[in-house]
Protein backbone atom coordinates (compact mmCIF):
# COMPACT_ATOMS: atom_id res chain seq x y z
CA UNK A 1 0.00 0.00 0.00
CA UNK A 2 1.24 3.50 -0.79
CA UNK A 3 1.81 5.78 2.16
CA UNK A 4 -0.64 8.62 1.82
CA UNK A 5 0.52 10.93 4.51
CA UNK A 6 4.17 11.24 5.08
CA UNK A 7 5.52 13.74 7.52
CA UNK A 8 9.23 14.04 7.69
CA UNK A 9 10.87 15.95 10.50
CA UNK A 10 8.09 18.25 11.48
CA UNK A 11 9.39 21.40 13.04
CA UNK A 12 7.60 24.55 13.89
CA UNK A 13 9.57 27.54 14.98
CA UNK A 14 9.26 28.09 18.64
CA UNK A 15 11.91 29.77 20.71
CA UNK A 16 11.07 28.14 23.99
CA UNK A 17 10.57 24.61 22.81
CA UNK A 18 12.49 22.90 20.12
CA UNK A 19 11.25 19.57 18.89
CA UNK A 20 14.09 19.13 16.53
CA UNK A 21 14.69 15.42 16.39
CA UNK A 22 15.01 13.90 12.99
CA UNK A 23 12.39 11.26 12.58
CA UNK A 24 9.88 9.82 10.20
CA UNK A 25 6.15 9.84 10.68
CA UNK A 26 4.26 7.93 8.08
CA UNK A 27 0.54 7.34 7.94
CA UNK A 28 -0.49 4.56 5.61
CA UNK A 29 -3.46 4.83 3.30
CA UNK A 30 -6.78 3.39 4.33
CA UNK A 31 -5.82 2.97 7.97
CA UNK A 32 -7.69 4.44 10.90
CA UNK A 33 -5.12 6.09 13.14
CA UNK A 34 -5.62 7.47 16.60
CA UNK A 35 -3.19 9.95 18.08
CA UNK A 36 -2.76 10.26 21.80
CA UNK A 37 -0.35 12.22 23.92
CA UNK A 38 -0.21 14.62 26.81
CA UNK A 39 -1.68 18.03 26.24
CA UNK A 40 0.85 20.35 24.70
CA UNK A 41 2.65 17.47 23.02
CA UNK A 42 1.89 18.84 19.56
CA UNK A 43 -1.08 16.74 18.45
CA UNK A 44 -3.19 19.60 17.06
CA UNK A 45 -0.11 21.08 15.43
CA UNK A 46 0.54 17.81 13.65
CA UNK A 47 -2.95 17.89 12.08
CA UNK A 48 -2.60 21.54 11.08
CA UNK A 49 0.68 20.70 9.40
CA UNK A 50 -1.03 18.02 7.41
CA UNK A 51 -3.78 20.22 6.01
CA UNK A 52 -1.60 23.24 5.38
CA UNK A 53 -3.01 25.48 8.08
CA UNK A 54 0.55 25.65 9.39
CA UNK A 55 3.77 25.45 7.46
CA UNK A 56 6.85 23.94 9.08
CA UNK A 57 9.76 26.26 9.66
CA UNK A 58 12.11 23.38 9.05
CA UNK A 59 11.66 19.90 7.70
CA UNK A 60 9.18 18.54 5.23
CA UNK A 61 5.59 17.43 5.37
CA UNK A 62 4.25 15.47 2.45
CA UNK A 63 0.60 14.69 1.87
CA UNK A 64 -0.01 12.66 -1.23
CA UNK A 65 3.40 13.71 -2.48
CA UNK A 66 2.53 17.35 -2.13
CA UNK A 67 3.75 19.91 0.39
CA UNK A 68 0.75 21.24 2.29
CA UNK A 69 0.34 24.95 1.65
CA UNK A 70 -3.10 26.49 1.49
CA UNK A 71 -2.01 29.00 -1.14
CA UNK A 72 -0.63 26.36 -3.45
CA UNK A 73 -2.95 25.54 -6.37
CA UNK A 74 -2.02 21.91 -6.52
CA UNK A 75 -2.52 21.44 -2.80
CA UNK A 76 -5.87 23.24 -2.89
CA UNK A 77 -7.25 20.34 -4.90
CA UNK A 78 -5.97 17.85 -2.35
CA UNK A 79 -7.18 20.06 0.48
CA UNK A 80 -10.76 19.92 -0.71
CA UNK A 81 -10.56 16.15 -0.21
CA UNK A 82 -9.11 16.37 3.30
CA UNK A 83 -11.90 16.41 5.84
CA UNK A 84 -10.82 18.51 8.78
CA UNK A 85 -12.79 18.73 12.01
CA UNK A 86 -11.15 21.03 14.54
CA UNK A 87 -11.76 20.65 18.25
CA UNK A 88 -14.17 23.60 18.11
CA UNK A 89 -15.89 21.88 15.11
CA UNK A 90 -15.83 25.15 13.14
CA UNK A 91 -19.56 25.15 12.37
CA UNK A 92 -21.37 28.25 11.21
CA UNK A 93 -23.77 28.84 14.10
CA UNK A 94 -26.32 30.95 12.27
CA UNK A 95 -26.58 28.68 9.26
CA UNK A 96 -28.78 25.67 8.82
CA UNK A 97 -27.58 22.10 9.10
CA UNK A 98 -27.91 21.75 5.32
CA UNK A 99 -25.85 24.85 4.56
CA UNK A 100 -23.14 23.69 6.94
CA UNK A 101 -23.03 20.27 5.33
CA UNK A 102 -23.05 21.76 1.82
CA UNK A 103 -19.84 23.63 2.65
CA UNK A 104 -18.11 20.32 2.07
CA UNK A 105 -19.34 20.34 -1.54
CA UNK A 106 -18.53 24.01 -2.26
CA UNK A 107 -15.16 23.44 -3.93
CA UNK A 108 -16.97 21.63 -6.74
CA UNK A 109 -19.82 24.14 -7.12
CA UNK A 110 -20.17 26.86 -9.72
CA UNK A 111 -20.30 30.57 -8.84
CA UNK A 112 -24.05 31.16 -9.19
CA UNK A 113 -24.84 27.87 -7.52
CA UNK A 114 -23.21 28.85 -4.26
CA UNK A 115 -23.99 32.56 -4.39
CA UNK A 116 -27.72 31.84 -4.64
CA UNK A 117 -27.49 28.59 -2.69
CA UNK A 118 -29.11 26.76 -5.60
CA UNK A 119 -27.77 23.35 -4.90
CA UNK A 120 -27.77 20.79 -7.66
CA UNK A 121 -29.95 17.70 -7.39
CA UNK A 122 -26.88 15.45 -7.07
CA UNK A 123 -25.46 17.54 -4.24
CA UNK A 124 -28.81 17.54 -2.45
CA UNK A 125 -29.08 13.81 -2.84
CA UNK A 126 -25.57 13.30 -1.52
CA UNK A 127 -26.33 15.62 1.42
CA UNK A 128 -29.46 13.65 2.26
CA UNK A 129 -27.52 10.39 2.09
CA UNK A 130 -24.80 11.70 4.42
CA UNK A 131 -27.33 13.27 6.79
CA UNK A 132 -29.18 9.99 6.91
CA UNK A 133 -25.92 8.23 7.81
CA UNK A 134 -25.25 10.56 10.72
CA UNK A 135 -28.89 10.43 11.81
CA UNK A 136 -29.81 14.04 11.08
CA UNK A 137 -32.23 13.54 8.22
CA UNK A 138 -35.26 15.75 8.82
CA UNK A 139 -33.20 18.33 10.69
CA UNK A 140 -31.66 19.96 7.60
CA UNK A 141 -33.39 23.27 8.19
CA UNK A 142 -32.47 23.57 11.85
CA UNK A 143 -30.10 26.37 12.76
CA UNK A 144 -26.86 24.84 14.03
CA UNK A 145 -26.82 26.76 17.31
CA UNK A 146 -30.02 25.03 18.37
CA UNK A 147 -28.47 21.56 18.23
CA UNK A 148 -27.08 19.50 21.09
CA UNK A 149 -23.36 18.81 21.44
CA UNK A 150 -23.72 15.36 19.93
CA UNK A 151 -25.78 16.65 17.00
CA UNK A 152 -23.24 19.40 16.31
CA UNK A 153 -20.54 16.75 15.99
CA UNK A 154 -22.75 14.83 13.58
CA UNK A 155 -23.06 17.96 11.44
CA UNK A 156 -19.29 18.39 11.39
CA UNK A 157 -18.85 14.74 10.42
CA UNK A 158 -21.46 15.07 7.69
CA UNK A 159 -19.67 18.17 6.37
CA UNK A 160 -16.40 16.22 6.24
CA UNK A 161 -18.02 13.28 4.42
CA UNK A 162 -19.75 15.64 2.00
CA UNK A 163 -16.25 16.48 0.77
CA UNK A 164 -15.89 12.94 -0.53
CA UNK A 165 -12.73 12.82 1.55
CA UNK A 166 -9.67 10.66 1.03
CA UNK A 167 -8.26 11.75 4.38
CA UNK A 168 -10.07 12.64 7.59
CA UNK A 169 -8.35 14.72 10.27
CA UNK A 170 -10.28 15.12 13.53
CA UNK A 171 -9.09 16.85 16.68
CA UNK A 172 -10.58 15.57 19.95
CA UNK A 173 -14.11 15.75 18.61
CA UNK A 174 -15.65 13.61 21.33
CA UNK A 175 -13.69 14.88 24.32
CA UNK A 176 -16.53 16.91 25.77
CA UNK A 177 -19.24 14.30 25.36
CA UNK A 178 -20.47 11.66 27.77
CA UNK A 179 -19.32 8.07 27.29
CA UNK A 180 -22.40 6.77 25.48
CA UNK A 181 -22.61 9.67 23.04
CA UNK A 182 -18.86 9.50 22.40
CA UNK A 183 -19.16 5.84 21.45
CA UNK A 184 -22.15 6.53 19.19
CA UNK A 185 -20.22 9.21 17.37
CA UNK A 186 -17.07 7.12 17.13
CA UNK A 187 -19.01 4.13 15.83
CA UNK A 188 -20.46 6.36 13.16
CA UNK A 189 -17.08 7.63 12.04
CA UNK A 190 -15.61 4.13 12.13
CA UNK A 191 -18.45 2.84 9.93
CA UNK A 192 -18.06 5.63 7.44
CA UNK A 193 -14.29 5.23 7.45
CA UNK A 194 -14.70 1.56 6.54
CA UNK A 195 -17.26 2.35 3.83
CA UNK A 196 -15.09 4.88 2.11
CA UNK A 197 -11.73 3.27 3.00
CA UNK A 198 -10.27 6.66 3.74
CA UNK A 199 -7.20 7.40 5.82
CA UNK A 200 -8.24 8.72 9.21
CA UNK A 201 -6.06 10.51 11.73
CA UNK A 202 -8.05 11.29 14.84
CA UNK A 203 -6.72 12.80 18.02
CA UNK A 204 -8.09 11.34 21.21
CA UNK A 205 -8.06 12.53 24.74
CA UNK A 206 -9.08 9.14 26.07
CA UNK A 207 -6.71 6.29 25.21
CA UNK A 208 -9.48 3.74 25.82
CA UNK A 209 -11.51 5.20 22.95
CA UNK A 210 -8.39 5.26 20.83
CA UNK A 211 -7.69 1.59 21.46
CA UNK A 212 -11.34 0.70 20.91
CA UNK A 213 -11.84 2.41 17.57
CA UNK A 214 -8.50 2.80 15.81
CA UNK A 215 -6.51 0.31 13.81
CA UNK A 216 -3.35 1.84 15.14
CA UNK A 217 -2.56 4.22 17.94
CA UNK A 218 0.33 6.65 17.67
CA UNK A 219 1.72 8.26 20.78
CA UNK A 220 3.01 11.76 20.23
CA UNK A 221 5.52 13.45 22.43
CA UNK A 222 7.19 16.80 21.79
CA UNK A 223 5.75 16.94 18.31
CA UNK A 224 6.96 13.56 17.15
CA UNK A 225 5.68 10.06 17.20
CA UNK A 226 7.47 8.08 19.85
CA UNK A 227 5.67 4.83 19.34
CA UNK A 228 2.89 3.15 17.56
CA UNK A 229 0.58 0.47 18.83
CA UNK A 230 -1.12 -1.95 16.50
CA UNK A 231 -4.45 -2.54 18.11
CA UNK A 232 -5.25 -5.88 16.46
CA UNK A 233 -2.56 -7.87 18.17
CA UNK A 234 -1.93 -5.50 21.01
CA UNK A 235 1.77 -5.46 20.43
CA UNK A 236 3.98 -2.47 20.28
CA UNK A 237 5.07 -2.38 16.65
CA UNK A 238 7.22 0.66 16.56
CA UNK A 239 9.14 1.78 19.54
CA UNK A 240 11.41 4.52 18.34
CA UNK A 241 12.18 5.99 21.68
CA UNK A 242 12.75 3.94 24.76
CA UNK A 243 13.26 6.84 27.10
CA UNK A 244 11.52 7.15 30.42
CA UNK A 245 8.96 9.76 29.32
CA UNK A 246 7.46 7.30 26.89
CA UNK A 247 7.05 4.86 29.73
CA UNK A 248 5.40 7.60 31.77
CA UNK A 249 2.78 8.23 29.10
CA UNK A 250 1.89 4.58 29.01
CA UNK A 251 1.74 4.39 32.77
CA UNK A 252 -0.36 7.53 32.93
CA UNK A 253 -2.84 5.93 30.60
CA UNK A 254 -2.78 2.72 32.55
CA UNK A 255 -3.85 4.55 35.66
CA UNK A 256 -7.50 5.56 35.26
CA UNK A 257 -7.12 8.26 37.91
CA UNK A 258 -4.44 9.72 35.66
Amino acid sequence: MVPVLKTLVIMISSKRRSHAQRHLNTFKAGINYAIVGLSGSGKSTLLKLMNGMMVPSRGTVLVEDCKPDQRDRQFQKIMSRIGYIPQSLGLVRNSTVLDNVMMGALPRMRLMQFLLKRYSEEDLEEARRVLDKVGLLGKEDRKTYMLSGGEKRRVAIARAFMQGPRILLADEIVSELDGTTSREIMNLVADMQKDTRLTAVMIHHDIRLALEFADRVAVIQEGRRVMELGVDNDTILDFQSGDSTTQEILEMYDDPKE
Binding site: K77, S88, G90, V92, M103, K143, M146, R159
Partner: protein
Amino acid sequence: MTPKSNLVIGMIGALVVAGSWHIEANPGEFVDGLPNLWLLGGEVVAELAEVEYRMVDRAFWSMLETILMAFIGTMVGYALAFPMSLLASRNLTSKWVYAPMRGILAAVRTFPSIMWALLFVIMVGPGPFAGVLAITMYTLGFVAKLQYESMETIDADPMDAASSIGLSKLQIVRFVVVPESASHLLGHLLYMFDYNVRQTSILGLVGAGGIGFYIITHIKFIQYGKTAFFMLVVLITVLIVDWVSVKLRDRYVIKSQRGVVADVP
Protein backbone atom coordinates in the same frame (compact mmCIF):
# COMPACT_ATOMS: atom_id res chain seq x y z
CA MET B 1 -9.05 58.63 42.30
CA THR B 2 -5.41 59.02 41.37
CA PRO B 3 -3.72 62.41 41.36
CA LYS B 4 -3.16 61.97 37.65
CA SER B 5 -6.86 61.60 36.85
CA ASN B 6 -7.59 64.59 39.15
CA LEU B 7 -5.20 66.64 37.08
CA VAL B 8 -6.87 65.52 33.85
CA ILE B 9 -10.34 66.38 35.16
CA GLY B 10 -9.05 69.76 36.36
CA MET B 11 -7.55 70.51 32.96
CA ILE B 12 -10.75 69.57 31.15
CA GLY B 13 -12.73 71.82 33.49
CA ALA B 14 -10.34 74.70 32.86
CA LEU B 15 -10.65 74.17 29.11
CA VAL B 16 -14.45 74.30 29.28
CA VAL B 17 -14.34 77.60 31.22
CA ALA B 18 -11.67 79.16 29.02
CA GLY B 19 -13.45 78.01 25.89
CA SER B 20 -16.78 79.42 27.05
CA TRP B 21 -15.12 82.76 27.70
CA HIS B 22 -13.58 82.68 24.24
CA ILE B 23 -16.90 82.11 22.48
CA GLU B 24 -18.59 84.67 24.75
CA ALA B 25 -21.05 82.22 26.21
CA ASN B 26 -23.27 84.07 28.64
CA PRO B 27 -25.61 82.11 30.94
CA GLY B 28 -27.45 85.36 31.61
CA GLU B 29 -28.50 85.57 27.97
CA PHE B 30 -29.89 82.08 28.21
CA VAL B 31 -32.05 83.00 31.21
CA ASP B 32 -33.14 86.27 29.61
CA GLY B 33 -34.09 84.36 26.49
CA LEU B 34 -36.42 81.96 28.28
CA PRO B 35 -39.52 84.21 27.96
CA ASN B 36 -38.99 84.20 24.19
CA LEU B 37 -39.96 80.55 24.28
CA TRP B 38 -43.32 81.56 25.70
CA LEU B 39 -43.84 84.12 22.99
CA LEU B 40 -42.84 81.58 20.35
CA GLY B 41 -45.09 78.98 21.92
CA GLY B 42 -48.05 81.34 21.77
CA GLU B 43 -47.32 82.28 18.18
CA VAL B 44 -46.93 78.66 17.18
CA VAL B 45 -50.19 77.62 18.82
CA ALA B 46 -51.97 80.53 17.16
CA GLU B 47 -50.57 79.68 13.76
CA LEU B 48 -51.11 75.97 14.15
CA ALA B 49 -54.74 76.69 14.86
CA GLU B 50 -55.07 78.20 11.42
CA VAL B 51 -52.91 75.85 9.40
CA GLU B 52 -54.09 75.94 5.84
CA TYR B 53 -54.64 72.90 3.72
CA ARG B 54 -51.89 74.11 1.40
CA MET B 55 -49.32 73.80 4.19
CA VAL B 56 -50.44 70.33 5.21
CA ASP B 57 -50.21 69.33 1.58
CA ARG B 58 -46.69 70.75 1.28
CA ALA B 59 -45.54 69.21 4.52
CA PHE B 60 -46.88 65.81 3.49
CA TRP B 61 -45.23 65.73 0.08
CA SER B 62 -41.95 67.21 1.22
CA MET B 63 -41.78 64.80 4.14
CA LEU B 64 -42.48 61.94 1.75
CA GLU B 65 -39.71 63.21 -0.49
CA THR B 66 -37.40 63.35 2.53
CA ILE B 67 -38.17 59.76 3.49
CA LEU B 68 -37.67 58.59 -0.08
CA MET B 69 -34.34 60.38 -0.30
CA ALA B 70 -33.24 58.82 2.97
CA PHE B 71 -34.41 55.42 1.79
CA ILE B 72 -32.62 55.53 -1.55
CA GLY B 73 -29.46 57.00 -0.05
CA THR B 74 -29.43 54.41 2.72
CA MET B 75 -29.92 51.47 0.38
CA VAL B 76 -27.42 52.56 -2.26
CA GLY B 77 -24.83 53.59 0.33
CA TYR B 78 -25.34 50.32 2.16
CA ALA B 79 -24.99 48.25 -1.00
CA LEU B 80 -21.77 50.07 -1.91
CA ALA B 81 -20.44 49.75 1.63
CA PHE B 82 -20.78 45.98 1.71
CA PRO B 83 -18.04 45.03 -0.78
CA MET B 84 -15.82 47.82 0.54
CA SER B 85 -16.20 46.58 4.10
CA LEU B 86 -15.24 43.07 3.01
CA LEU B 87 -12.07 44.50 1.54
CA ALA B 88 -11.45 46.51 4.71
CA SER B 89 -11.80 43.59 7.14
CA ARG B 90 -8.49 42.60 8.60
CA ASN B 91 -9.53 38.97 8.84
CA LEU B 92 -10.50 38.72 5.16
CA THR B 93 -7.83 40.50 3.17
CA SER B 94 -4.16 41.29 3.34
CA LYS B 95 -2.68 44.47 4.71
CA TRP B 96 -2.12 45.81 1.20
CA VAL B 97 -5.84 45.76 0.58
CA TYR B 98 -7.43 46.61 3.90
CA ALA B 99 -5.08 49.45 4.85
CA PRO B 100 -5.79 51.66 1.79
CA MET B 101 -9.47 50.69 1.89
CA ARG B 102 -9.72 51.84 5.51
CA GLY B 103 -7.96 55.04 4.54
CA ILE B 104 -10.49 55.76 1.82
CA LEU B 105 -13.41 55.01 4.12
CA ALA B 106 -11.95 57.21 6.86
CA ALA B 107 -11.64 60.04 4.36
CA VAL B 108 -15.27 59.58 3.27
CA ARG B 109 -16.34 59.74 6.92
CA THR B 110 -14.65 63.06 7.62
CA PHE B 111 -17.47 64.99 5.92
CA PRO B 112 -20.79 65.41 7.68
CA SER B 113 -23.77 64.88 5.39
CA ILE B 114 -24.48 68.59 5.07
CA MET B 115 -21.01 69.14 3.60
CA TRP B 116 -21.51 66.33 1.11
CA ALA B 117 -24.82 68.00 0.25
CA LEU B 118 -23.08 71.32 -0.41
CA LEU B 119 -20.57 69.58 -2.62
CA PHE B 120 -23.23 67.77 -4.63
CA VAL B 121 -25.42 70.88 -4.95
CA ILE B 122 -22.44 72.49 -6.63
CA MET B 123 -21.86 69.37 -8.71
CA VAL B 124 -25.34 68.37 -9.90
CA GLY B 125 -27.32 71.48 -8.98
CA PRO B 126 -29.88 71.95 -6.19
CA GLY B 127 -32.62 69.41 -5.63
CA PRO B 128 -33.28 66.05 -4.05
CA PHE B 129 -30.74 64.21 -6.21
CA ALA B 130 -27.90 66.15 -4.55
CA GLY B 131 -29.39 65.14 -1.21
CA VAL B 132 -29.58 61.47 -2.16
CA LEU B 133 -25.93 61.54 -3.23
CA ALA B 134 -24.97 63.18 0.07
CA ILE B 135 -26.83 60.56 2.10
CA THR B 136 -25.29 57.82 -0.01
CA MET B 137 -21.76 59.02 0.68
CA TYR B 138 -22.41 59.53 4.36
CA THR B 139 -23.98 56.08 4.68
CA LEU B 140 -21.13 54.49 2.75
CA GLY B 141 -18.45 55.85 5.06
CA PHE B 142 -20.34 55.22 8.23
CA VAL B 143 -21.91 51.84 7.56
CA ALA B 144 -18.76 50.35 6.06
CA LYS B 145 -16.99 50.99 9.35
CA LEU B 146 -19.81 49.37 11.33
CA GLN B 147 -19.78 46.44 8.91
CA TYR B 148 -16.09 45.73 8.89
CA GLU B 149 -15.97 46.06 12.64
CA SER B 150 -18.65 43.42 13.07
CA MET B 151 -17.08 41.21 10.39
CA GLU B 152 -13.84 41.33 12.32
CA THR B 153 -15.53 40.01 15.44
CA ILE B 154 -16.69 36.84 13.66
CA ASP B 155 -15.47 33.65 15.27
CA ALA B 156 -12.23 32.58 13.58
CA ASP B 157 -12.99 28.85 13.92
CA PRO B 158 -15.58 28.45 11.15
CA MET B 159 -13.44 30.64 8.87
CA ASP B 160 -10.37 28.49 9.51
CA ALA B 161 -12.37 25.32 9.04
CA ALA B 162 -13.79 26.66 5.78
CA SER B 163 -10.46 27.70 4.34
CA SER B 164 -8.83 24.44 5.41
CA ILE B 165 -11.31 22.42 3.39
CA GLY B 166 -10.47 24.47 0.33
CA LEU B 167 -13.20 27.12 0.12
CA SER B 168 -12.45 30.30 -1.81
CA LYS B 169 -12.65 33.77 -0.25
CA LEU B 170 -15.97 34.40 -1.96
CA GLN B 171 -17.36 31.11 -0.70
CA ILE B 172 -16.23 31.96 2.82
CA VAL B 173 -17.95 35.33 2.54
CA ARG B 174 -21.18 33.72 1.34
CA PHE B 175 -21.25 30.78 3.76
CA VAL B 176 -19.51 32.11 6.88
CA VAL B 177 -19.23 35.90 6.93
CA VAL B 178 -22.75 36.73 5.75
CA PRO B 179 -24.68 34.32 8.01
CA GLU B 180 -22.50 35.02 11.04
CA SER B 181 -22.91 38.77 10.75
CA ALA B 182 -26.38 38.90 9.19
CA SER B 183 -28.18 40.11 12.28
CA HIS B 184 -25.63 42.87 12.80
CA LEU B 185 -25.84 43.84 9.15
CA LEU B 186 -29.62 44.15 9.36
CA GLY B 187 -29.26 46.13 12.59
CA HIS B 188 -26.92 48.57 10.87
CA LEU B 189 -29.38 49.03 8.03
CA LEU B 190 -32.23 49.89 10.35
CA TYR B 191 -30.06 52.17 12.45
CA MET B 192 -28.78 53.97 9.40
CA PHE B 193 -32.20 54.52 7.84
CA ASP B 194 -33.51 55.86 11.12
CA TYR B 195 -30.58 58.24 11.39
CA ASN B 196 -30.76 59.26 7.73
CA VAL B 197 -34.40 60.36 7.96
CA ARG B 198 -33.28 62.91 10.57
CA GLN B 199 -30.27 64.01 8.54
CA THR B 200 -32.20 64.33 5.31
CA SER B 201 -34.68 66.62 7.03
CA ILE B 202 -32.04 69.34 7.23
CA LEU B 203 -30.36 68.91 3.85
CA GLY B 204 -32.88 71.38 2.40
CA LEU B 205 -30.95 74.07 4.29
CA VAL B 206 -28.33 73.95 1.56
CA GLY B 207 -30.79 73.33 -1.25
CA ALA B 208 -30.43 69.56 -1.44
CA GLY B 209 -34.16 68.77 -1.34
CA GLY B 210 -36.53 67.53 1.30
CA ILE B 211 -38.61 69.23 3.96
CA GLY B 212 -35.64 71.28 5.20
CA PHE B 213 -36.28 73.69 2.35
CA TYR B 214 -39.54 74.85 3.94
CA ILE B 215 -38.00 75.05 7.37
CA ILE B 216 -35.17 77.32 6.21
CA THR B 217 -37.52 79.41 4.01
CA HIS B 218 -39.95 80.11 6.85
CA ILE B 219 -37.09 80.93 9.21
CA LYS B 220 -35.77 83.43 6.66
CA PHE B 221 -39.16 85.14 6.59
CA ILE B 222 -39.31 85.03 10.38
CA GLN B 223 -42.44 82.85 10.25
CA TYR B 224 -41.72 80.91 13.39
CA GLY B 225 -45.15 79.35 13.58
CA LYS B 226 -44.89 77.87 10.09
CA THR B 227 -41.33 76.77 10.80
CA ALA B 228 -42.55 75.05 13.93
CA PHE B 229 -45.29 73.32 12.00
CA PHE B 230 -42.80 71.72 9.61
CA MET B 231 -40.52 70.81 12.48
CA LEU B 232 -43.44 69.17 14.20
CA VAL B 233 -44.06 67.08 11.10
CA VAL B 234 -40.40 66.01 11.14
CA LEU B 235 -40.66 65.18 14.83
CA ILE B 236 -43.73 63.00 14.39
CA THR B 237 -42.25 61.23 11.36
CA VAL B 238 -39.00 60.54 13.15
CA LEU B 239 -40.91 59.13 16.12
CA ILE B 240 -42.84 56.80 13.83
CA VAL B 241 -39.72 55.65 11.95
CA ASP B 242 -37.99 55.14 15.28
CA TRP B 243 -40.86 53.08 16.60
CA VAL B 244 -41.05 50.93 13.49
CA SER B 245 -37.32 50.28 13.49
CA VAL B 246 -37.38 49.33 17.17
CA LYS B 247 -40.14 46.84 16.37
CA LEU B 248 -38.22 45.42 13.41
CA ARG B 249 -35.05 45.22 15.47
CA ASP B 250 -36.85 43.33 18.22
CA ARG B 251 -38.39 41.02 15.71
CA TYR B 252 -35.39 40.19 13.56
CA VAL B 253 -32.17 41.38 15.13
CA ILE B 254 -32.31 40.85 18.89
CA LYS B 255 -33.99 37.47 18.67
CA SER B 256 -31.57 36.00 16.21
CA GLN B 257 -28.65 37.34 18.23
CA ARG B 258 -29.85 35.69 21.41
CA GLY B 259 -30.94 32.59 19.57
CA VAL B 260 -34.45 32.44 20.97
CA VAL B 261 -36.14 31.64 17.65
CA ALA B 262 -36.43 28.02 18.68
CA ASP B 263 -38.91 25.83 16.92
CA VAL B 264 -40.08 22.91 18.96
CA PRO B 265 -40.70 19.89 16.76
